[in-house]
C-alpha cells in the first residue's frame, strides 16, 4: 500500500552488488560473531548432552510448571500491549496535532524514562505503590480507605511498571505513521459532510493501523522477554518464563535444559514475529513502503 503524501521511493536496488555493499561487511561480521555464533551454541546445548536428545524439550512439555510460566508471560505481555495502546494512541495523536515545539517537548517527556535504568524505575514504583508508599499513605491519611491497597506484588504492579517502561515503543511507531497521514484527507471527509467522529473513525483510524500493528508487535515482543519488572513488582501469579530460565541457568547450572527453554521462547516469539509481519505489514516500521 502506498499512502498519499508518503515519500515516493525508488525500488530497492541490489545493494550487495554496489560499492555501498562494502559498508555492510562490518555489521555483518559483528552480527555473525556476537549473535549467530552464540545462538548456534545455544541450539547445540538444547539438542546434545552429549549425544543427540530431545529430552530437554520433552521435560519442558512434561512439567506443567514451565507451560504455566509461559502462560503467565503471555498474559502479562497481552495486558501490557493492550494498555500501552490505550495510553499511547491518544498521546501519539496529540503529538501530531500540537505545534512543533509542543511536540518536541512531548517527545522529550516520553523519552525521559529512557535515561534511567529499568531497575531504578522499578524501585521507584515500589516506593510509590507500596503498602507504606506515597499513594497508600495519602489515601489512608485522608480516610478514603481503611487498609492500604495491594498495588504491587500482583498483576497490577507488573502492568504499571512495564507499561511505564514500554510506552515509548508504542508511541514512536504510532507517531511515525500518524505524522505521515495527509490531514487534507480528514478535511475532505469533513467538507463532504462527515462528523468529526466519522472522519476520525473512517479516515484517520484506518490510516494509522500500520502504526498500531508495529507498536503492538514491538511492545509485545519486548514484554515477552522482560525480566526485572515482573520479578520485583510481581507476585506468585507473575512468575515468568524468563524467571525460570534464570533459575535453571544460574542456580541449577542445567545449561542444556536452560538452552531448550531459551530456544522454545525464541521459536515462539520468532513465529509470532513472522506471522505479524506477514499479516500486518511490519515493514512499515522501517519506513519501507513497498506496494
Amino acid at each position: 500500500m502506498t499512502f498519499p503524501g508518503a515519500p515516493v521511493r525508488p525500488a530497492p536496488r541490489r545493494y550487495w552488488r554496489t560499492r555501498q555493499g562494502l559498508v555492510l561487511v562490518a555489521p555483518l561480521g559483528f552480527f555473525l560473531a556476537v549473535y549467530l555464533y552464540p545462538l548456534t551454541r545455544l541450539l547445540g546445548w538444547s539438542f546434545f548432552s552429549p549425544g543427540f536428545t530431545l529430552e530437554h524439550y520433552a521435560k519442558l512439555f512434561r512439567e506443567p510448571a514451565y507451560l504455566q510460566a509461559f502462560r503467565n508471560t503471555a498474559e502479562i505481555s497481552i495486558w501490557v500491549t493492550g494498555l500501552s495502546l490505550v495510553l499511547g494512541y491518544p498521546l501519539a495523536y496529540l503529538m501530531t496535532v500540537v505545534s512543533r515545539r509542543v511536540r518536541t517537548l512531548l517527545i522529550v517527556l516520553v523519552l525521559v524514562p529512557f535515561w534511567t535504568s529499568v531497575l531504578v524505575r522499578t524501585f521507584a514504583w515500589m516506593v510509590i505503590l507500596g503498602k507504606r508508599g506515597i499513594i497508600n499513605q495519602v489515601l489512608v491519611g485522608w480516610g478514603v480507605i481503611d487498609r492500604p491497597l495491594a498495588l504491587i506484588y500482583n498483576m497490577l504492579g507488573v502492568q504499571i511498571g512495564m507499561v511505564h517502561v514500554l510506552l515509548p515503543f508504542m508511541v514512536f511507531p504510532l507517531l511515525s505513521v500518524m505524522a505521515r497521514i495527509d490531514t487534507t484527507l480528514v478535511a475532505a471527509a469533513r467538507s463532504l459532510g462527515a462528523s468529526p467522529r466519522q472522519a476520525f473513525i473512517r479516515i484517520f483510524l484506518p490510516l494509522s493501523l500500520p502504526g498500531v500493528s508495529a507498536g503492538c508487535v514491538l511492545v509485545f515482543l519486548l514484554a515477552v522477554g522482560f525480566y526485572i519488572t515482573p520479578a520485583l513488582l510481581g507476585g506468585e501469579g507473575q512468575v515468568t518464563f524468563t524467571t525460570l530460565i534464570e533459575l535453571v541457568v544460574r542456580d541449577l547450572l542445567d545449561w542444556n535444559f536452560g538452552a531448550s527453554l531459551g530456544v522454545f521462547l525464541l521459536t515462539v516469539v520468532g513465529t509470532l514475529f513472522v506471522l505479524f509481519s506477514t499479516l500486518l505489514g511490519l515493514d512499515r516500521l522501517t519506513g519501507d513502503s513497498r506496494a
Binding site: 503524501g5 508518503a6 507500596g130 506484588y153 520485583l232 507476585g235 533459575l247 542456580d251 522501517t286
Partner: protein
C-alpha cells in the same frame, strides 16, 4: 510535510536503536575482569560492605606481607565460573560463596580440592570440623532468621519461633521468604513450624515439610529474589516478617532501620573459601586462605559486618558489646541449628543433588494454581 515525516521517522529509528543498543549492551557492561597473572591472586566475593572490609582487613595486609598482589572481582556466580572453565579462560583463583553453589560447582567439577596439609593446624583446630569439607573451608557464618519490622512488632511482642511466624491470626502482617538466594525452599524451617524439634530435622521429612509450606503460602506477600531485597522489604514495612539472613538485619538495625532479628531456631550455614579448578596460583591461593582463617583477622571482618567468624579465637579480639549481636555469640548459637551439608548435597540416582531437586520442585509449586 514529507521532510518533517522523514525527520520524525529517523528520529524514531535513532531512538529505538539507541534504546535497543543500551538494552543489549547493558548486561555486558561489567568492569574489566581482573586477570590472574603470576604474582597475582584474584579473590571473588559478593561485594558490598563485606568486600570493602576484605580489602582493608585481608587483601592489603596480605599484599604487604607476601608481595603478591590481590585483585578483587565479583560476584562469584557459578554460571560465570562454568563459562570460564568451558571456554578455557579462567581469571579467578579463590571464591567466597555459599554451600548450595559450592555443591553444584563440585558436582560440575569446577573446583579443586583443598590441601589441608598446607593450612595451619593451630587455626583449623578452632574451626568446626563440619566447615572443613573436601573442596571448601568455612570462614563466615550466617543464619536464616526471623527478621521483623519493629514498628509492626515492638521488640518483645514479636514472633519468637517459626510456629509463630506461621500463625497469621496472632501475628498479622505480610511475610517474605526466599525464592532464590541460597538454600530454598526452607524445608527445615517449615518442619520447625510444624512442631518438629530442632535435633530431629534430618533426614528431612520432605512431604511433611511441603505440607507445612502450603500453610505458609497465603501469608507470604512476596517471595524475594535476593537478601538485599528482603531487608529492604522489611525496612520499608512492605512486609512485617522475613525469613532472611539475620546478620544483614543486624547491619540494617545498626544503621537505624526499624528492624530487628530473633536468632531463635535460626538455620546456620557458612560462606566458604574455595579454589577454582585450574587456578594459576594454587600455592599462593592456599597461602591466602590460611592467612584469612586467622582469628584476629576474622574478628576484624565481623566487627564491621556482624556475621560469625568460623575461627572461635576471633572472640578474643572482640569486646562483649561487639560479640553480643553475632550469630555465633554463645547465647545466639545455642538456640540455632546447623544446615546439613550431607542431606542437601546427597546425589540421587537421577544425578541431581537434593538442592537441585527441591529447587525444581519449588518452581513447580510456585506455579501451581
Amino acid at each position: 510535510m514529507s521532510d518533517q515525516t522523514l525527520s520524525t521517522r529517523r528520529h524514531f529509528v535513532r531512538i529505538v536503536s539507541a534504546a535497543g543498543a543500551t538494552a543489549a549492551i547493558g548486561p555486558f557492561f561489567h568492569a574489566r575482569p581482573a586477570k590472574a597473572d603470576k604474582g597475582e591472586l584474584v579473590v571473588v566475593s559478593w561485594g558490598g560492605s563485606w568486600a570493602k572490609s576484605l580489602r582493608e582487613v585481608m587483601f592489603t595486609p596480605f599484599e604487604k606481607e607476601t608481595g603478591y598482589k590481590v585483585r578483587d572481582d565479583g560476584p562469584p556466580e557459578a554460571a560465570k565460573l562454568k563459562a570460564m572453565i568451558q571456554s578455557g579462560s579462567v581469571t579467578w583463583d579463590i571464591l567466597d560463596t555459599d554451600l548450595p553453589a559450592i555443591q553444584t560447582m563440585v558436582k560440575e567439577g569446577l573446583l579443586d580440592p583443598i590441601d589441608y596439609s598446607k593450612l595451619d593446624k593451630a587455626k583449623l583446630d578452632h574451626i568446626p570440623k563440619t566447615l572443613q569439607s573436601s573442596h571448601a573451608v568455612g570462614h563466615k557464618i550466617y543464619s536464616f532468621n526471623i527478621v521483623y519490622n519493629t514498628k509492626t512488632f515492638p521488640v518483645g511482642k514479636h514472633p519468637r519461633s517459626w510456629a509463630e511466624v506461621w500463625d497469621g491470626e496472632k501475628f498479622k502482617g505480610g511475610r517474605s521468604f526466599n525464592f532464590r538466594g541460597g538454600i530454598a525452599p526452607q524445608l527445615e524451617i517449615a518442619l520447625l513450624a510444624d512442631g518438629v524439634p530442632m535435633d530431629k530435622l534430618y533426614p528431612i521429612d520432605v512431604e511433611r515439610a511441603w505440607r507445612s509450606t502450603d500453610r505458609l503460602r497465603p501469608l507470604v506477600t512476596k517471595w524475594y529474589q535476593s537478601h538485599a531485597e528482603a531487608i529492604q522489604l522489611v525496612t520499608a514495612g512492605e512486609v512485617d516478617i522475613a525469613c532472611t539472613i539475620g546478620p544483614r538485619g543486624i547491619y540494617a538495625k545498626r544503621s537505624g532501620a526499624p528492624i530487628d532479628v530473633d536468632y531463635n531456631q535460626g538455620k546456620l550455614g557458612s560462606d566458604y573459601w574455595c579454589l577454582v579448578k585450574g587456578a594459576k596460583n594454587p600455592e599462593v591461593a592456599l597461602q591466602f586462605i590460611n592467612f584469612a582463617l586467622d582469628g584476629k583477622r576474622q574478628a576484624g571482618m565481623v566487627k564491621e559486618n556482624p556475621y560469625g567468624a568460623s575461627n572461635s579465637t576471633a572472640f578474643d579480639f572482640l569486646t562483649p558489646q561487639e560479640a553480643k549481636d553475632l550469630t555465633t555469640a554463645p547465647d545466639n548459637i545455642k538456640r540455632q541449628f546447623w544446615i546439613s551439608e550431607d542431606w542437601w548435597g546427597k546425589v540421587g540416582p537421577d544425578g541431581k543433588n537434593e538442592n537441585q531437586k527441591q529447587k525444581e520442585r519449588f518452581a513447580a509449586w510456585m506455579l501451581k494454581k
